[in-house]
């Protein structure tokens, strides 16, 4: 299954993939065993002339154990999966490491707007940078995002990060990610949001520190020119 997955481009992508692998192995063993026994029974106990079926109630202790042992095994495997799943969940959604940078993500019908705080590190100041449908990040930098929705529910999804989070009108939802490879990847909206839902494609561009600095200065120059033009 791993080979079908997209590139792992965040610090927690591998943890999520490993969790999927763990669940796959655990339930896969169970599934194969159950199907083998199931088809084995169908073959072994096919009707034959003159052979009557056995009378088994399944209510005696000696019969019940065939159900209760697998049942305990299911419980044991459930515990393993719960522990593994919640460790990953805690890492991604609850325990935020200290942020090195911030980005505000705004979903609306049908585009993503990204706001960067600029050199002063504060949102809603004159040096903010805004981009539409293109998220510009620096590799190996830990970002805290705050997610907003202007109109309806959207869902911010970056498959290479293995990150997904709904954006809900009226709420500010925070989270984090740390890109680990440079490159350009898809951003999706994964919650149906109207007729343009299928067009709400954006891209994340992950650059080295030097490239990112260059991008920031050219973008800020362009913004300054644009602002002067409107004054």
């Amino acid at each position: 299954m791993m080979s079908w997955h997209p590139t792992q481009a965040s610090t927690y992508a591998a943890d999520i993939d490993n969790l999927i692998l763990l669940v796959g192995v655990v339930v896969g063993i169970f599934f194969l065993a159950a199907e083998v026994i199931f088809f084995g029974f169908i073959f072994k106990f096919r009707a034959r002339p003159g052979v009557k079926a056995q009378y088994v109630t399944g209510e005696k202790a000696s019969e019940k154990k065939w159900i209760s042992y697998p049942h305990y095994l299911v419980l044991l495997f459930d515990v393993i999966i719960v522990v593994a799943a919640l460790r990953v969940w805690y890492e991604v959604k609850i325990d935020f490491p200290p942020a090195e940078d911030r980005v505000r993500i705004i979903g609306q019908q049908w585009a993503w707007t990204f706001v960067y705080p600029g050199p002063d590190g504060q949102f809603d100041t004159a040096d903010d940078i805004r981009t539409v449908d293109e998220l510009n990040l620096q590799v190996n930098r830990l970002y805290r995002y705050e997610l907003h929705a202007k109109d309806v529910v959207h869902s911010f999804s970056v498959p290479v990060f293995r990150l997904k989070q709904d954006a809900v009108p009226g709420r500010t939802i925070v989270g984090w990610f740390k890109p680990t490879v440079t490159g350009e990847f898809d951003i999706q909206c994964t919650q149906i949001c109207g007729i343009g839902h299928g067009l709400m494609a954006a891209r994340v561009r992950i650059r080295s520190a030097a490239e990112q600095a260059a991008w920031i200065s050219t973008t800020r120059d362009a913004e300054r020119v644009a602002r002067r033009g409107t004054e």
């Binding site: 299954m1 079908w4 999520i16 999927i20 669940v23 796959g24 339930v27 169970f30 599934f31 159950a34 199931f38 088809f39 029974f41 169908i42 106990f45 096919r46 009557k52 079926a53 056995q54 009378y55 088994v56 109630t57 209510e59 019969e63 019940k64 159900i67 697998p70 049942h71 459930d78 999966i81 719960v82 593994a84 799943a85 990953v88 969940w89 991604v92 959604k93 019908q109 109109d151 309806v152 529910v153 869902s155 999804s157 498959p159 290479v160 293995r162 997904k164 989070q165 709904d166 809900v168 898809d186 999706q188 994964t190 919650q191 149906i192 949001c193 109207g194 007729i195 839902h197 299928g198």
Partner: protein, 568 residues
């Protein structure tokens, strides 16, 4: 005696069997609409932008409407009416040995309200701006304001139709539960009741207990749409996530509302065609009750990433994985029932066995999604879609075919063709797997749901992904192409099939005592019950079945109480 006109007999009847047929045929007609919608939008996904034969080009708005209607129809207007209402109505009085439902007029009203709801829903295709396109989950604010969804009439009709449908099933549920409690044949204890009746009754209780909040939610949504209230609008103090809680508080028990009747149907069929007593009958009843209770505590696993407090995910991951225990146990008990059997692979048995084989895939893939950590990635991808189709297809489609092919002789007094039945079975079941296995892969590879053209996303526009989407679509077209065989077999057998007689499968339960088809009133003489429903292949008996109504053997204490001491 007054001559019953055709309208009075077939449209205004209070006979539970006629009402069952009304539900069955309405459900199957709606399935044709649901099947056509999926044909159109799967063609669009495989060949984006190309005109679809029999339909034309698919716009983004149309795509959303078709996806929404497919989900809504298949769950509310196919699975519910067929599994719960049609089989519930047909089987409960016959299997309990009584002449009709306790409230026949409420029953008639239930179908009439249901028919009205179906008409309202289908009408929404034809109103200006088209049918609602905000998914069957209808999350506000998208569903609440026409400036967002652009379907001012379609979205309102959708809510009205769904609310009417719920009212219809509330009426039906009251009847099912009351009849099962009060109208059992003399001698029939609760543990002599066939599993399918147990399952339908438990499902009705689940439905009635879970639908109230959503019905209230639907009224609030209707008010938001039409009067401009703000129950789900944060700008006026409302909250969009409220709807999600109300919807899924109903929506997850709803899975079990349709699963349990299907599991019940399968239980009847595997007992008969393996000539075996059900392994651990009481345990199955207990696990069904346990599943029902736990199903009220798992809803937020649909909302892990919906903006709820992330700490809530811990609780709901635990409950979700716990529910795997009773369901796994039920499946184990079904498999154990086959042990030591004398298995004949008739068409109904093939369907029943395929239910178990396919449902297990749906069951185990649910674990990936119930585990909050992996759901972050897999949520709202085609992996989810493939997962729940491996549960809902066995439930709604395989369950229906199992039940129809098994009880057809009782419904119409004639046998279906086994040869056509098997061709239809293999064509459907093989094609089904070729639809959804590729979609597990594209989902794990990042395809998100409800997108009308994945080629707009550079990472998803790779040739191997598109090839898999085309395989899924071709398999769907193949599967649909096999369905006329079933329809032909059904209609032809109604008139030309071999006469069935009362008990063609040599089964134990009471419906096989009544003539085929049973007349109004069902039984010439109301039966008395002497034993449980699954006494197949009992030792020191010549016959390998032992119908519930035939006296003999040692009476149970309950029988003694009913029939008096003369037997002892």
């Amino acid at each position: 005696m007054i001559d019953e006109g055709l309208i009075k007999k077939y449209l205004w009847s209070t006979d539970h069997k006629i009402i069952a047929m009304q539900y069955l045929f309405t459900g199957m007609l709606m399935a044709l609409i649901g099947g056509f919608t999926v044909y159109v939008f799967r063609m669009q996904l495989a060949f984006p932008g190309q005109p679809v034969p029999l339909f034309g080009r698919v716009s983004a708005a149309t795509y959303n409407s078709l996806v929404t209607m497919h989900g809504t129809i298949m769950i509310f207007w196919v699975a519910m009416p067929v599994l719960l209402a049609a089989f519930g109505n047909f089987l409960i009085p016959l299997m309990l040995g009584c002449d009709d439902m306790v409230f026949p007029k409420v029953n008639r009203l239930s179908y009439q309200v249901f028919l009205l709801s179906a008409i309202v829903l289908v009408a929404s295709f034809f109103v200006p701006h088209g049918a609602f396109g905000g998914a069957w989950t209808a999350y506000p604010p998208l569903s609440a304001r026409s400036t967002y969804n652009l379907t001012p009439y379609g979205s309102t009709l959708w809510v009205i139709a769904v609310a009417l449908e719920f009212a219809a099933f509330l009426l039906g549920g009251v009847n099912f539960v009351t009849t099962a409690m009060n109208s059992r044949a003399p001698g029939m204890t609760m543990f002599d009741v066939p599993l399918v009746v147990w399952m339908i009754v438990i499902a009705s209780v689940l439905f009635m207990a879970s639908v109230g909040p959503l019905l209230a939610g639907a009224v609030m949504l209707l008010l938001d749409q039409t009067l401009g209230t703000g129950f789900y609008d944060p700008a006026t103090g409302g909250d969009p996530v409220l709807w999600q809680h109300l919807f899924w508080f109903f929506g997850h028990p709803e899975v079990y509302v349709v699963l349990l009747p299907a599991m019940g149907i399968v239980a009847e069929v595997i007992a008969v065609f393996s000539r075996k007593k059900i392994f651990g009958y009481k345990t199955i009843v207990y696990t069904a009750v346990a599943t029902g209770v736990i199903s009220f505590f798992v809803w937020a696993h649909h909302q892990f990433i919906a903006g709820i407090d992330p700490r809530m995910a811990s609780l709901f991951t635990v409950t979700t994985l716990i529910i795997s225990v009773p369901i796994a146990e039920m499946v184990f008990l079904y498999i154990a029932t086959l042990y030591g059997g004398s298995i004949t692979l008739t068409t109904p048995m093939l369907w029943a066995l395929s239910f178990i084989a396919e449902f297990m895939i749906g069951g185990v893939t649910g674990i990936f999604l119930g585990a909050a950590g992996s759901d972050i990635y897999l949520h709202d991808t085609y992996f989810v879609l493939a997962h729940f189709h491996y549960t809902f297809f066995p439930i709604a489609i395989i369950g229906t075919f199992t039940g129809v092919t098994f009880w057809f002789p009782k419904m119409f007094g004639r046998m279906m063709s086994e040869r056509l039945g098997k061709i239809h079975f293999w064509g459907t079941i093989i094609a089904f797997n070729f639809i959804f296995i590729p979609l597990f892969i594209t989902g794990a590879a990042g395809d998100q749901r409800r997108v009308y053209n994945h080629l707009g996303f550079p990472d998803l526009a790779t040739p191997w992904r598109q090839d898999l989407r085309i395989v899924a679509t071709m398999a769907l077209v193949t599967m649909l192409a096999f369905q006329p065989i079933f329809i032909f077999n059904f209609i032809r057998s109604m008139f030309k099939g071999a006469l069935a007689g009362a008990n063609p499968w040599r089964a134990n339960t009471l419906e096989w005592l009544a003539p085929s088809p049973p007349p109004h009133g069902n039984f010439a003489e109301l039966p008395v019950v002497y034993r449980g429903p699954y006494e197949y292949s009992a030792e020191d008996r010549e016959e390998d079945f032992w119908p519930q109504h035939i006296p003999g053997g040692m009476p149970t204490p309950a029988e003694t109480a009913v029939h008096g001491q003369w037997q002892a």
